[in-house]
């Protein structure tokens, strides 16, 4: 039997082999994604050359655009050009913005990552204790209350919530800014260097508390809107698992040895109950990369979701392909991270064992 990596020795070798195998698998997955998206994008009748050259383009300009985009070559040849670029880290040039797709994504991705991270942090920090509490108080009012909140969070559409939040906290109460990631005035007064692209982190690194507060204020509403669904999901998953785990013999053992309730619930039981919630958070993360575009739109959050949305509307296939590949990469990475967390939490899961 393969030993776990924490035990050192040959185990770290096995762990390295595991990572290599997962990396190879990831390449295969990504290749599949590229093939499917590339050919699907070309099935849609569109006029990329026309978009590229503009509305008033002359026939010569159109022809040179077609040549530049390799549109006159057969599809497999075009795919060859694309793959060659891809392995060199070149995702092509956006037809809509005329920027390299990679630059565009690098520009927008941090905004979305910051937003999703904040919303999923909320989901974990609020959803898990809520689920534990509901599970412990099963059948009593805290359980019913969290069920009500969770069902509400899961079933209310985010675009509707976003509008309601804007009306209440911006329109009526004037507590929070309505849209964007920062206020333009402060941006001119206190310019920030871009380091991570996360405004909250960049402002903290540079010790600029005014910009930090501004970034947080802009982040609250969209993050909260996005968080309600995963909060409800996580709370319900943790609750269901907690109810099951609290009936286990080892929980009775812990009680029989006089361990305090908090320790039993939040350590002994939760560690056994949290796995499905971690999977849910991981999948939400990958999904919201582009799934958050409605919320991004309403709050004018210039992120990758909006970028993907606009690319689709204008048949900007290099951009569509580029974002798809990046999102697929995140799926692969998130899955790996989820697996690693699970094996860390549960010693019975042995990742390094050969998988069928």
């Amino acid at each position: 039997m393969a030993k776990r990596s924490r035990r050192g020795g040959t185990a770290s070798g096995a762990f390295a082999r595991f990572l290599i195998r997962r990396a190879l698998l990831a390449v295969l997955v990504l290749l599949g994604v590229v093939v499917i998206t590339f050919f699907l994008a070309r099935v849609v009748p569109a006029n990329p050359a026309g978009l590229w050259a503009g509305v008033h383009a002359t026939p010569q300009e159109l022809a040179s655009a077609r040549a530049e985009l390799h549109l006159d070559d057969p599809l497999p040849v075009q795919f060859g050009y694309y793959l060659t670029g891809l392995v060199q880290g070149d995702l092509g040039v956006s037809i809509r913005t005329h920027n390299p797709v990679l630059d565009d994504i690098g520009d927008k991705l941090p905004a979305t990552l910051e937003l999703i991270s904040a919303s999923l942090l909320l989901a974990v920090v609020v959803g898990i204790p809520l689920g534990v509490y509901a599970g412990v108080k099963k059948g009593r009012w805290p359980d019913h209350l969290t069920r009500f909140l969770a069902v509400g969070g899961v079933s209310l559409p985010s675009f509707w919530l976003a509008v309601v939040f804007e009306m209440v906290f911006v329109g009526e109460l004037h507590w929070l800014p309505s849209s964007g990631r920062f206020s333009d005035v402060l941006n001119i007064q206190y310019p920030l260097k871009t380091i991570t692209g996360f405004l909250t982190i960049d402002s903290l690194i540079q010790g600029n508390l005014i910009r930090f507060g501004d970034a947080i204020a802009h982040l609250i509403l969209p993050a909260l809107t996005l968080a309600l669904y995963p909060i409800g999901l996580v709370a319900r998953m943790v609750r269901t698992m907690m109810v099951e785990v609290l009936g286990e013999n080892y929980v009775r053992t812990a009680k029989a040895y006089g361990l305090p309730g908090r320790l039993i619930h939040y350590r002994y039981a939760l560690k056994n109950a949290i796995s499905p919630a971690i999977v849910a958070v991981g999948l939400s993360f990958a999904y919201e990369l582009t799934g958050a575009f409605l919320v991004e739109n309403i709050f004018a959050w210039n992120g990758i979701g909006q970028y993907a949305f606009n690319s689709v509307l204008s048949f900007d296939y290099p951009a569509i392909l580029g974002t798809t590949i990046i999102v697929a990469m995140f799926y692969v990475i998130v899955n790996l991270v989820v697996d690693l967390i699970q094996s860390f939490l549960d010693p019975r899961i042995v990742l390094t064992k050969a998988e069928a």
Partner: protein
């Protein structure tokens, strides 16, 4: 423990799980509680620790430990008692240990909950206990997870945990049911050794009369939630009084009865939701009289230390 009666609210009705159970365990004494599956042995044990499920309701009786009433203690007082003065070894060590924490963490957590010691001191104590219960390579065991240990080793870990805070009373709920026969004997021997060494009082719950004969000074026979007979082990085997005990002893396989079918008790264990009136054993009893179905026998002393609950010994003839 006096007159302990207990009910479970279930969706099928109220189950009268315990019916006026009364017994005492002396200091340093091993008391065996025998009976069929579902007769209320484990519930009796859980009552001592006040670990009953929420649908359980104690209707009468009290449980005294070192002169103090356990049933009126607050939850916080009970938490301090559990694991320190009274501890319990469970039936199935594989599911009674938390699968996602190392056994060392689980045992040191118990020690550190009850005593003001640091992690190192708690680990040292765990290693000593592991040595004492015969676990090979205690430092490695400390860092092992339950699934990496065999059933026998898991039970030894449970026993170490039970002894970690020097309890006065050890409740062992069928401690050898889940391990195979060779290990059973080892675990029992170990328990008895430790019992003498720590001067433990032990409540040993089992359905195995052989185990009782080897280990217990006194024994209580339980049937359908009621105690039928309480006696010193020797007396019980020499002169069983209760008809149920007599049949139980007859049903043990014997070398001189080779080739003959095993004796068994006709009928089956009654439902506790609607238990037989009077003596709960009377529908299966070969000596049943008319009044057995109406009058409930009391647990009365028949000879010194030997008590039985049966109308046959109350001078009732019909």
């Amino acid at each position: 423990m006096r007159d302990l009666s207990l009910e479970f609210e279930t969706e099928f009705g109220t189950a009268k799980v315990l019916d006026r159970v009364t017994f005492t365990i002396g200091e340093g004494e091993v008391f065996g509680l025998v009976g069929e599956t579902g007769c209320g042995k484990t519930v009796t044990a859980l009552t001592v620790l006040r670990l009953l499920p929420s649908n359980a309701k104690i209707t009468t009786g009290n449980v005294k430990f070192l002169g103090e009433e356990l049933l009126s203690k607050t939850d916080a007082e009970m938490e301090r008692l559990r694991g320190t003065k009274i501890s319990m070894v469970f039936q199935d060590p594989a599911t009674s240990l938390n699968p996602v924490f190392s056994v060392g963490e689980q045992i040191t957590r118990v020690v550190r909950t009850h005593e003001d010691v640091d992690k190192r001191a708690a680990e040292t104590r765990a290693v000593e206990l592991f040595k004492r219960v015969g676990l090979p390579d205690p430092e490695t065991v400390l860092r092992s997870y339950p699934h990496e240990l065999s059933g026998g080793m898991q039970q030894r870990v449970m026993i170490s945990m039970a002894l970690a805070c020097r309890p006065k009373l050890l409740i062992a709920d069928e401690p050898t049911t889940a391990v195979d026969v060779t290990i059973q004997a080892q675990i029992l021997d170990l328990l008895m050794e430790l019992q003498r060494e720590f001067r433990l009082s032990v409540l040993l719950i089992t359905h195995n009369l052989g185990i009782v004969a080897e280990t217990c000074q006194r024994v209580g026979v339980m049937y359908a939630g009621a105690l039928g007979e309480v006696a010193p082990t020797k007396d019980l085997f020499r002169e069983p009084l209760h008809p149920y005990t007599q049949r139980l002893l007859k049903s043990l396989p014997r070398p001189d009865a080779r080739g003959q079918p095993l004796a068994s008790i006709p009928g089956s264990v009654p439902s506790l939701i609607d238990p037989p009136t009077g003596c709960r054993y009377h529908p299966r009893c070969e000596f049943a009289m008319k009044s057995c179905s109406t009058r409930r026998p009391a647990l009365l002393e028949h000879s010194p230390g030997h008590r039985v609950a049966c109308l046959l010994y109350e001078g009732v003839t019909e």
